[in-house]
């Protein structure tokens, strides 16, 4: 009898049930999408913040002091120590290699261009490297996204060069022209604009800089761009002062400090340091954005919970006559409440499932249109979302059901409410 009541209620009141189900579906959909976005925003923004460039720098351990003013290297190239290019792919062998977005080696050398002493900077543009079976591409196109080239990037295996835009303007050279560098004509594939010292320099494949310097395999410094976890108290501690258990926790967290430590382990005779301007501010900005999205998600959950309860309350309010009839025929409060709650649960489960699917699609669409990447949804969320949907539907119905149950059947049947 009870099952039939529920069945008939759904069969005969399709419009009302549909309205309530739509409200639940939309509410759950919005809630799912917002929860998905809020949980994933940290990862997504962390990736976006990589557009500030490298946050780690690796230098030779016993290097002499840098002589840099305004980004221009004044150190004689003969001075100081070098890293070995052959060691670089080992960066991919570190514990947190999945978090390392890219790296670029730098080797500045002095060349004579049209009678002027000019810096030629050797680096990777989009170099194909292998580490074990792992094939990957790295270079300044990844670590220095604000570098803009008009023309084309040189091939890393070629002898072609890029000219800084101010240097190109001074020398009156265009992409496609040739320039004599170290007694040999080189093709200019494009002009480079960085807003920094490179605008007055020549940027070339690393191998070209090495052959001009006469030191094959030499790298002056290595810029590494890694996704990190914002610094906390543990991150700032000195690893030497930690017990083995604490050290493991520190080592296995993607702090910028622990990644620096691992880079130092991977590359012999090196010193890795965080670039504080980038690394320190990243955490602050990330925390703010995450905090903001969290609060906004609460607002979304609140709004969708309210929409669901409003729809449920309306749906039940409209059925006072029915309640009056049931009571007049001798149904107890408990039986009536059970009927409504069963209906509400059914609606919540159906609406919740459809809404969860819709929310997944919505989150995917938001991810694709804003970040150009999908936003994954943890399957663990599914039972939680359904449970919340049932709870909210219950809460929304409870007040209306209580009112309907306590209402005098005589008035209800007369249509006065």
């Amino acid at each position: 009898m009870f099952a039939r009541l529920v069945y008939e209620s759904f069969r005969r009141q399709k419009r009302r049930k549909l309205l309530a189900a739509i409200a639940i579906t939309l509410g759950v959909g919005v809630a799912t999408a917002m929860i998905a976005v809020a949980t994933d925003i940290g990862d997504k923004m962390s990736r976006e913040l990589r557009s500030y460039g490298a946050n780690l720098i690796v230098t030779p351990q016993d290097d002499t002091l840098d002589l840099q003013i305004g980004g221009v290297d004044l150190k004689p190239p003969s001075d100081g120590a070098y890293l070995n290019e052959a060691d670089l792919p080992k960066v991919r062998g570190t514990f947190w290699h999945h978090n390392i977005v890219g790296f670029s080696p730098m080797l500045p050398v002095n060349v004579n261009i049209a009678g002027n002493n000019t810096t030629l900077l050797g680096t990777y543009f989009a170099k194909h490297l292998t580490f074990g079976k792992d094939e990957f591409v790295t270079g300044v196109t990844i670590t220095h996204p604000w570098w803009k080239v008009s023309g084309a990037w040189p091939n890393d295996e070629s002898q072609d060069v890029l000219l800084g835009e101010r240097l190109a303007a001074r020398l009156d050279k265009k992409p496609g022209d040739e320039i004599e560098v170290a007694n040999q004509k080189r093709r200019i594939t494009g002009t480079l604009s960085t807003g920094g010292a490179e605008d007055d320099e020549i940027v070339a494949p690393l191998s070209l800089a090495q052959s001009i310097l006469g030191k094959p395999g030499a790298v002056r410094r290595l810029y590494v761009s890694a996704m990190t976890k914002p610094e906390d108290a543990l991150a700032r501690r000195d690893p030497k002062s930690m017990g083995p258990e604490l050290f493991d926790r520190w080592y296995c967290s993607p702090y910028v400090q622990s990644i620096a430590y691992q880079l130092q382990e991977a590359i012999p005779h090196s010193h890795a340091e965080q670039i504080r301007q980038v690394a320190q501010n990243e955490g602050t900005v990330l925390e703010k954005i995450k905090g903001l999205m969290l609060l906004v998600t609460f607002a979304a959950l609140f709004a969708s919970a309210l929409a669901v309860s409003a729809a449920m309350a309306t749906a039940i309010f409209e059925r006072r006559n029915e309640v009056g009839l049931m009571k007049a025929l001798g149904a107890g409060k408990f039986a009536i409440a059970a009927l409504f709650f069963t209906e509400a649960t059914l609606l919540a489960i159906i609406g919740g499932m459809v809404g969860f699917g819709g929310g997944m699609l919505l989150a995917g669409e938001i991810g694709r249109s804003i970040f150009g990447d999908r936003i994954p949804i943890d399957p663990v969320l599914f039972p939680i979302i359904i449970a919340i949907a049932v709870l909210v539907t219950f809460a929304g119905s409870a007040l209306a059901i209580r009112k309907a149950v306590t209402f005098d059947p005589v008035y209800a049947l007369r249509g006065e409410g």
């Binding site: 002589l67 920094g196 670039i275 607002a299 309010f317 919505l362």
Partner: protein, 377 residues
Amino acid sequence: MTSSVESRGANPHTSMFVRMLLRGAVVRRGRAASALFAMVVAAAVSTAMLNLYVDVQAKLRKEFRSYGANVVVVAKNGQSLSLDALQQLNSVLAGRGMAVPFAYVIAQTPDGQSVVVSGTDLEQVRKLDNWWSVTNWPQRANEALVGVRASSVVSPNGRPFDLIFHGQTIHLDSAGTVRTGASEDSRIYLSMTDFENWTGVQPSTMEVAASGSPEDVDAIIKQLARLLPSAEVRPVRQVMEGEARVLGKTRATLSAAAALIILTAALCVLSTLIGWVFDRRRDFAIMKALGAPERLVNSLFAAEAAVLGAVGALIGFLIGIGAAAWIGRANFHAAVVPRFGIFPEVLLGSILVALLSAILPIFLLRQVQPAIILRGE
């Protein structure tokens, strides 16, 4: 809606109209209150979201200023900036940011090591580059801030040290070390007075943190370039582009969230109000049975909805402003400035949604005979 009333040309009718409007709300307090509540919440949530959306960009921009200078002014051809350049710069900025001068020389230690020494306004640097990890800032004359890598060369264990530039020797105490992971680690920083007394070299670089939108910063760059023809003014692309990118993504996410939330809130209002109007179908039927023209009945319902929308919007707006201010304080430790400019949008939107939710059931009820409704079917 008043036109139908005015066509009857008498005051009592207007007062009757208002009375029916009021009684409708008073007699069915519970239903009216729940409809108003939905309206208030929807308006509050929408106001908070719109307010945040407008203001959060300014808040985030302030956070992004912690990345330091976004514009550099460099004297051309290795000369120094003219004496009044800093004053001119500050007058252009006029509170829209700060400018810090830097002077550089390459000095020698007594054993012939080269090291970059910079003179600057240390107080300002402290504000501009707050990512510098400094053990102790210099307070007195002839105290230096030594980069961590430089310290191992010139001043191991914080010993006092000598530096020589063009035959002039200066004796310095090491106040503390600075660690940044960049070229600052290999430098020594002095106060501008000490630096000028020793070397006689004037600042050649000005690091500027200009606040505001990219357009504002562009305008400042253009203005500076015009004012200081002997210098090169260029944006720090790394900082500007990173900021633009992250801010753009945040804004897009926030606007998507705002759209979803406002949609849900509107839905909530719609379902509550439809229920409310449906609930009053007996009033509707009685009025029609007593001979009220359709237009009068419709305008009564529409007026009710509009009043509800307007009152809800007003209360909701105030609550929403408060909510936005609270979010601002919780997340950014600075109140979100109330944007009263968005009130017309919220008001209009609320009334529109309310009218829409009144029209829908009226349209459905119109086709029903009053007798059927009165029989309670």
